[in-house]
């Protein structure tokens, strides 16, 4: 990592808003649309100030018509705009799934590569807040399964800033999933423009005994678990996946060839989840490097329950990740 000279502290929503502002100032084709993003500044304050800066024609409040306005983003992208849509909860992506999966994801390939779809769908997911089954999901696996979309999950304000700027400039459609637990966090971000490579995973903690792969808010929990084990002299290498599609398998492989042990931690359901996908690919391609099975810590295969005790039981925690690491390490 190159040292970033000047930096400042921003909350996660501020980092998003600042990045959108930066990109809109840079490129007049970038515009923002979604429910209550303009006059109100976004339900989660991620578009605050944009209306004042860029006006109503580039910061657009929409009706509650996700399929409609996401479809419109596709059309605008095809004629040269760079729409950044806010979809308030990723759970609501299901009312627009045809537009995302049958239209946006497929347009480029169906045209034989002749047509680009440069748009970003920024959305928000995840649990831990008692928001229950229809407001707590992490749905990235659905969007990784269908080819054609880039799927990106930032893990803190800095990666949000760097990945979002790259997403806005990306010629492909990007589904950018923020986590509601991160909205309350703050962190250092560089004063200057930051661009992080969309297709790269990052080793965020070096280690030698086991590779722990995670992303989004779960990375916070993964790092806690890794630090707990560090105290006992166990060295956990932690990788922030960042991009779920495309996958930076090389970074994973390099680590696994060193550690020979793997744990994957994410919040989404296990079945056909990203963890299952990674574990499958790892055993397919690195079977002989593995000392034992790739283990996962996932959200339980039930709709996210409302009651705290149940939600806690259903979702990953630092403790559960630590337990799984111990299992893999035999300690």
């Amino acid at each position: 990592m190159i040292a970033e000279t000047a930096s400042k502290t921003l909350s996660f929503p501020q980092a998003i808003a600042a990045t959108l502002s930066q990109e809109m100032a840079r490129d007049p084709d970038v515009f923002v649309m979604g429910e209550d993003v303009a006059h109100f500044g976004g339900m989660f304050r991620c578009t605050e100030g944009l209306l004042e800066q860029f006006g109503e024609s580039r910061v657009i409040d929409t009706p509650i018509s996700e399929s409609g306005f996401i479809g419109m983003a596709l059309g605008a992208a095809l004629v040269g705009k760079r729409p950044v849509v806010e979809l308030m909860f990723v759970d609501f992506s299901l009312v627009a799934a045809d537009q995302i999966l049958n239209q946006i994801a497929k347009t480029r390939y169906m045209s034989g590569g002749r047509v680009g779809v440069p748009l970003v769908i920024r959305t928000q997911g995840g649990g831990y807040k008692g928001a229950a089954a229809q407001h707590s999901q992490m749905l990235e696996a659905l969007y990784v399964h269908i080819p054609g979309l880039r799927v990106v999950c930032p893990s803190d304000p800095r990666t949000a800033q760097g990945l979002l700027a790259s997403a806005v400039r990306c010629p492909d459609p990007v589904l950018f999933i923020e986590h509601k637990q991160l909205y309350g966090t703050s962190g250092e971000v560089p004063e200057r423009e930051l661009l992080l490579d969309l297709g790269k995973a990052e080793v965020v903690k070096q280690g030698t005994d086991v590779t722990l792969i995670s992303y989004s808010y779960t990375l916070t929990l993964a790092l806690q678990a890794a630090e707990n084990l560090q105290k006992e002299g166990k060295s956990v290498e932690v990788i922030d996946l960042r991009s779920l599609n495309p996958l930076d398998f090389d970074t994973l492989a390099e680590s696994i060839r060193k550690t020979h042990r793997v744990v994957i931690a994410h919040e989404a359901h296990g079945r056909c989840g990203v963890g299952a996908d990674l574990a499958c690919q790892i055993q397919e391609r690195l079977f002989d490097d593995l000392d034992g099975p790739v283990l996962r810590v996932c959200g339980a295969d039930v709709p996210v329950p409302f009651a705290k005790v149940l939600e806690d039981e259903a979702l990953p925690s630092a403790e559960k990740i630590e337990q799984t690491l111990r299992k893999v390490l035999g300690v």
Partner: protein, 322 residues
Amino acid sequence: MVATIHASQQTSNLKLQLSLMLLLRSFEKELTALSQSGKLRGSLHLATGQEACPVGFCAALDPQDTMTVTYRGHGYAIAKGVDFKLIIAEILGKQEGLCHGRGGKMHLVDLDKGLLGANGIVGGGIGTAAGAALASKMDGGHRVSAAVFGDGTVNQGHSMEVFNMAGLWKLPMIFFCENNLYAEMTPLSRSTAVIDLTRKMEAFGIPSVQVDGNDVQAVEEASQEAVRRAREGHGPTFIEAMTYRTVGHYQNDPGTSYRSQKEIQSWMELDPITRLASVLKVSDKDLESMRQEAVGKVKETIEWAMALPDPKPSDLSEGIYA
């Protein structure tokens, strides 16, 4: 039907409705306090100021009639007869709660009382309500089914698909739209090309009626008529109840950044509770003591519910498949 009720019975019905509105109001107040003190998880979507809608509408329904409501729909649940205590227990995430703590506030459901479900997805339950109406039609159409939703919900594709099928098939149902002028922070005029929703419904062959949603008697009357039409096989009615939430969209929204103090004040003056109280000539003192009674009931229930056991973590997977 209304005409056959004796005046005294009507008055006593209205008194009950006043109590019920006070209960809903107190329920919301106490939940707000609970939420502020951190004892309540998740978002709290209140309907303070809109109480005449659930109370007036549900008065027109029979026990076997069905309905779906929204994240803001606890008032309908209670007015439809769902056990108030079980709702509070659910909102507190208890095993004895209406949905054993799995669903929470946004997902109340109680088939025995005809509540097919509250919903976290805008418009998400409208098809459900229509499906129950279709089933009723197959059985002769005696049960009426209702979908309750807000003004902003008419812009969701699912809603419009269902409007069309209900109009086409003349389903025995009611679309009860609480037009509280805003969808979250967006006024109807910035989200809908045609803001006269009753005109909009012509596209779906559904007759409409607009009603003062803060007048419980007017709501009940319009609802009775719609229910009658549905039960007699004349198909769906769209009721647009003009109302206002005097609070924010949810607990963290004061509701003041996008609405003027004057607007809020003018609606406060149309408060459905004080209006019904004055119709009934209930004195301020009597009203206050009724209110106290309602608050007491809610507080007591909350206390009871707080002491209930949580669900068992080991039962996490209970209930997902039969």
